[in-house]
Amino acid sequence: MITLEDDRLVFRFPEVHKDARCAIEFQRTLRIPDDGLDYPLPPGMGRFPLRHLDDYARRMPTDWLRRGGVLMPMHQAEAMWINFDCRGYPFAVKIATGKVCALTGETWMNHLNTDPQDYAVLPDQPWLDGYCVAQGIVRQFVAMPLGQGYTVEEQLTGEAQHGGLQLIAYPMKAERYEEMMASVIAGAPLPDADASPLVKSTSMGLAPGGRMRQEIYDDDYGLDAWDQRHASRCFVTIANSVQWMALTGERPPTEAPTAREYTSAGLPWFDYFGGDLTAIAETDKLRGIASVAEMGAANGESPLPENESAEVERVISLRRPGSNQVRELPADSTAAG
């Protein structure tokens, strides 16, 4: 089951195990320059708001309402990353945009695959910032309107049908978790269809932005560890700021500062070291996708405002979970918009 708590999607599987719980949230962040250079990880600037789609059923386009799930606002060309909060019970989580897997580029499937691996393993994977385009490199998730050809969905399927973001989480099998915990204790390693919608149903999709260093870790547990009889999934519809205000009556969050503004203010970027974990490699499909800036240049367009390179000097290194280190803008900072 999934509940919406304080702008987080909380996945619980009490029928599997009392500890089977994880939360997923979407962090606002600055858009890293899409200039061919590899950047460290940008900061988190707070959660994007999430709302039940059903709460605005009378105003909602019927094709959005049919999907269920939640609504999230993003400005055009705004970036985000996905934060996984998992306190110890392992999960396998698939992430897709426009129903195209962010790790493999394959079209959406409700089950897990290992060749190539199409899921992230929690809690080893603390975050996901974008599409896996090379081993240890992702291209940032950047919101773009469907229909202009920039999204990964449009690049790989040729259609602008779904947009948004899709998630499905599978808990580890309870018996496997119990065995693992026992070994840890022993010291071993560890809708109203008639109402007229107030907004047009053209939604936002996610497209590949600038490159950053982020490893997506190999599944050390193996496919057999995951309880594929139990899964919960969610469609996150992304509304632009006008649609969001028309539907919810709320203002969306302000846009993040540019990478250059942020860096010039002396604020930190981040690196993450997963210890001895190994990173999965990219697939041919995602290796070949064009970034928003590359595609814009080819089309004679400038889809990314303020895309100047940034000279990163201050990088905070974060280590594996357990230390409660946060990848967030320092609380005393005034650089965030």
């Binding site: 919406l4 039940h52 059903d54 049919r66 409660n324």
Partner: protein
């Protein structure tokens, strides 16, 4: 030590073992109380702090604010407001669920609806 103080002390020390920013002094500074006061809270020498300070402490230690408030003998003001608006309904609901197992309680919470996609 009180249960509240013990819980806070254990949570903070566990974080401090990996990160020096979770020293008593630094945590106190970030939640806006004197280090001596936080020390007394952890040792159970004073009553748990106000609701606002407890929530700040919970967020700082990455703990659930409602759990920490309950350990301090409090119920968050937003929950009190919910009950005050429909006292009979929520009083009855809570009493009926008093002994229900967690999975039965979770069955009545609002789920994110999955649709056709």
């Amino acid at each position: 030590m009180t249960q509240f103080g013990t819980y806070v002390n254990t949570a903070r020390r566990s974080l401090q073992a990996h990160d020096r920013r979770y020293s008593l002094r630094q945590v106190a500074g970030r939640i806006g109380v004197e280090p001596g006061y936080l020390s007394k809270i952890e040792r159970g020498q004073v009553a748990p702090p106000s609701e606002a300070a407890t929530v700040r402490l919970a967020r700082e230690l990455d703990e659930d604010p409602d759990v920490l408030l309950a350990l301090g003998g409090k119920v968050s003001s937003d929950l009190q407001e919910v009950i005050r608006k429909r006292p009979r309904l929520f009083a009855q609901l809570i009493r009926e669920l008093r002994d229900a197992p967690d999975h039965a309680v979770l069955r009545i919470v609002r789920e994110v609806r999955d649709g056709d996609w």
